[in-house]
């Protein structure tokens, strides 16, 4: 659907910018004139309904009649806010572009509320959210903020608890057919106090990506077995991943006249380098404790908690951030760049995302499924002529310290978040838009565009069954119990915005190679301790950090669970067929 098509709807109430000339008054006051007829309230026309339901949202788990009823509800509920312009912000992925380019228009046509849906980097978004809380200035009326921030949200007192809001102030503007239980990520956005603080808008996981077609080539399978003594297949552990990386980069080198690489990653000094590690890389190595979603009492950031209170990240305080497992994880991350294209070390998250599409990458241990939509584009060298992918996604291999019952990987759950310092009427209007973007009327279409599902009803729909062969395993992942074992950063992290910059600032030092990884991790762990201590002092409360006294490393390494003492980091490589590998998802 293009923006050029004219829409004969509610045009009498839209505050067109053409009529809004900015003026500085003599007093120096900046004001922008409002449309005089902005508060008119015409009936939602059948033409509008038809335009959107038949043109854009023709796939839905609702019947057309039910969709029309939802649109009518939005139209009615929005009446007090017609003519308003609201501001929301989200990160840069396909799903949010769809919302910004299409859903915001649909919402405006249906409700008369104009939405400026901004797209920015995830780190920008985190800084903006922190700024709104700290300055008290209402920058945005709603944020789509990752559920990684849940630990800060419930401790800060600055975020609206949605489970309270929909019963109280927001009751009149809460969609009767919202159906919270249909959201697969609701556990991620529910804090230890039992309240839901965020409404999931999109979800994507971090999985193993590989060239299914190459792994099934007889010549490559035979050659791999000759060299390594076991089958070329989906690696179960990091030893096998490393062997396969070496195999393609060092031994195969070229396929069909093109260079190939056995590994892909990104390492530019940039905030996204931090996510590469904080998005569960250390838990995949096995650094933390058993327990879903994040490990108890030591989580995937290496932070130990006592009840809900963080007590330290360094081994000397009972954490695991500078434990043998953490050091091993970062050593492998750094070392494996030798198997990646030379450019990889200078790429960011976004820049690296499209690399698998070039057809040069054999496997990637850490691949965000937010890029599935890009990797399924017709004409790419990784897509067959019939539209099926030449690749598959499978469970990521795990490191030498990983044990059954631990978190298996990362899942991002970008979720609608309302702040208490947003004026009540603007918050209500923004809440309407938030619900519109996840309503059953639009969510299946949004899922097909961005491939970041949030509703069980969408995942289990026949439409997704038909689409599954084109998506390389994404539907199978989301239909399985695995979606509960790939989890976001948890509630142990008391202030994500303040602590997360430590990751990229220290990991970049490890990548530069000027100092040994173990030293860098020791510094990172100490910095994390200091950060936790500062948060504890600035934001006192029953769940705020209070550091354990320092003990010897030996004391904690001998204690059960994480931090774990050094172990054999080179177990024999093990692989499975694709079919066997995805059985662990069930």
């Amino acid at each position: 659907m293009t923006s050029e098509r004219s829409i004969p709807v509610l045009s009498n109430i839209r505050c067109r910018s053409a009529s809004v000339a900015p003026k500085i008054l003599a007093s120096g006051v900046l004001c922008l004139a409002l449309c005089g007829d902005a508060l008119a309230a015409p009936k939602l026309s059948e033409e509008t309904v038809s335009y959107w339901l038949d043109g854009e949202f023709s796939v839905s788990t609702l019947s057309r009649k039910e969709q029309a009823a939802e649109l009518a509800w939005f139209h009615q509920a929005a009446e007090p806010f017609r003519g308003m312009t609201i501001y929301v912000v989200s990160e840069t992925i396909d799903t949010h572009w769809y919302e910004a380019n299409i859903l915001s228009k649909a919402f405006e046509d249906v409700t008369g509320i104009r939405v400026v849906h901004e797209i920015t980097g995830e780190d920008d978004l985190v800084r903006k959210l922190l700024s709104q809380i700290e300055t008290g200035i209402n920058i945005y009326d709603a944020f789509i903020s990752d559920s990684d921030l849940i630990g800060a949200h419930y401790r800060s007192g600055a975020v609206v608890a949605l489970s309270d809001y929909i019963q109280q102030d927001g009751a009149a503007v809460t969609l009767p057919t919202l159906n919270l239980q249909d959201f697969i990520g609701l556990n991620f956005t529910t804090a230890p106090d039992g309240k839901v603080y965020q409404l999931p808008d999109q979800q994507f996981a971090n999985l193993y990506w590989y060239r299914y077609d190459w792994f099934n080539r007889k010549d490559l399978r035979e050659r791999f077995k000759r060299l390594y003594g076991y089958e070329l297949g989906v690696p179960v552990n990091w030893s096998a991943y490393e062997d396969i990386a070496e195999f393609f980069t060092v031994h195969v080198k070229e396929l069909d006249g093109h260079p190939v690489w056995g590994h892909m990653d990104y390492g530019k000094t940039d905030p996204s380098l931090g996510w590469r590690i904080s998005d569960a890389w250390l838990s995949m190595a096995g650094m933390g404790d058993r327990g879903i979603p994040n490990g108890v009492p030591v989580d995937d950031w290496g932070i130990r908690v006592d009840g809900c209170r963080p007590v330290g990240a360094s081994v000397q305080r009972g954490g695991a951030l500078d434990s043998p497992a953490a050091n091993y994880a970062i050593r492998k991350f750094v070392d494996w760049f030798k198997y990646a294209p030379p450019q990889a070390a200078n790429l960011t998250f976004t820049e690296a995302g499209g690399w698998v599409g070039t057809g040069q990458i054999a496997q990637q241990i850490f691949w965000y499924t937010a890029f599935v939509a890009q990797a399924t584009q017709p004409g790419l060298p990784i897509v067959n002529a019939d539209g099926t992918p030449k690749w598959r996604i499978a469970p990521s291999p795990v490191g030498a310290y990983w044990e059954e019952g631990m978190k298996s990987g990362y899942q991002d759950a970008g979720s609608w978040t309302l702040l208490k310092n947003t004026p009540a009427d603007r918050r209500r209007a923004a809440w309407l838009y938030a619900q519109f973007t996840v309503s059953k009327t639009v969510s299946l279409k949004k899922t097909l565009v961005g491939l970041t599902p949030i509703r069980l009803s969408d995942i289990n729909s026949s439409v997704m069954s038909e689409k599954a062969p084109m998506l390389g395993g994404l539907v199978e992942f989301y239909r399985s119990n695995a979606r509960n074992y790939w989890t976001p950063t948890g509630s142990n992290v008391p202030n994500y915005a303040k602590l997360s910059p430590l990751w990229w600032k220290y990991i970049s030092l490890a990548l530069e190679g000027a100092r040994p990884v173990d030293e860098v991790m020791q510094d990172l762990a100490r910095a994390m301790d200091r950060g936790l201590d500062a948060v504890g002092r600035e934001e006192p409360g029953v769940c705020s950090p209070r550091l354990n006294p320092e003990s010897s490393r030996e004391f904690w390494l001998k204690a059960p669970g994480a931090p774990k003492p050094e172990r054999n980091e080179h177990p024999p490589g093990k692989t499975l067929s694709y079919e066997e590998s995805i059985k662990v998802w069930n």
Binding site: S3, S17, A18, V20, A21, P22, K23, I24, L25, S27, G28, V29, L30, C31, L32, T85, Y87, V89, W97, A100, N101, S104, K105, E108, V116, H117, E118, I119, T120, G121, E122, D123, D124, R127, K128, S131, E134, T135, G136, I137, N138, I139, Y140, T269, D270, P271, S272, W504, S508
Partner: protein, 247 residues
Amino acid sequence: MTRLLAACVTWVLLHSVPALAEGEKIQVLAYAQPPFMELRHDRPAGLAIDILNMLFQRAEVDYSILFLPPKRAYVTALSEPNNCVLAIERSQAREALFQWVSPILITRHGFYSNQTDNYNIRTLNDAKPLVIGSYLGSGVGEYLEKLGFNVDLTSSNDLNIRKLQLKRVNLWASDTVSAAVIINQSNLPIKLEHVFLTTLRAMGCNLSTSPTLVERLQNELKSMYQDQSIRQLYRNYLGQDADWLSN
């Protein structure tokens, strides 16, 4: 006016600011962008300058202000110790390049067109086929370029007005407050089409700057927001009831 202001003019503050604990002096590199930053009678003035003055005085940090063209201010702060650039857009792409004191300003950015144009821009994507004017060193210009927009860069923001009027660009991307000043000062037939981005405008300091000093400034800035000092400075420029973030 901006060309004149862009000439290197130094205005060193000689106020009674106590000596720095670190024994260092910060050179702040600003560029002309009324009403945030400009030289009035050879003296730095504007909302961002007022915030800066209050910040450094409250933090008891010695400083001077030098006006340069925006791109030169940016690259100088990147390379020269104890230099900071005011007030640039803080963004993920720039995050690792500076140490930040933010937000000095919070600004909305929009697309502007000639009154006679009728582009019907409702979303950022609607502007994709059009040529957009911005200026060298602009974080918003960088943002649009990264997204694949056709961006035409000038050496300063106000030069885009002429390009827009001559139809050498279809749209001018600017923050809404300084655009309003320029448009209204000369009663220009230019209109706001669509707001598409909000930025935190920050002071970006050279990476070698003392982290303790940066933290001190950041903490002081935070307290200026919390005790309403910043809000009062905004009111001085935008009026008692002005809400510059509502467009």
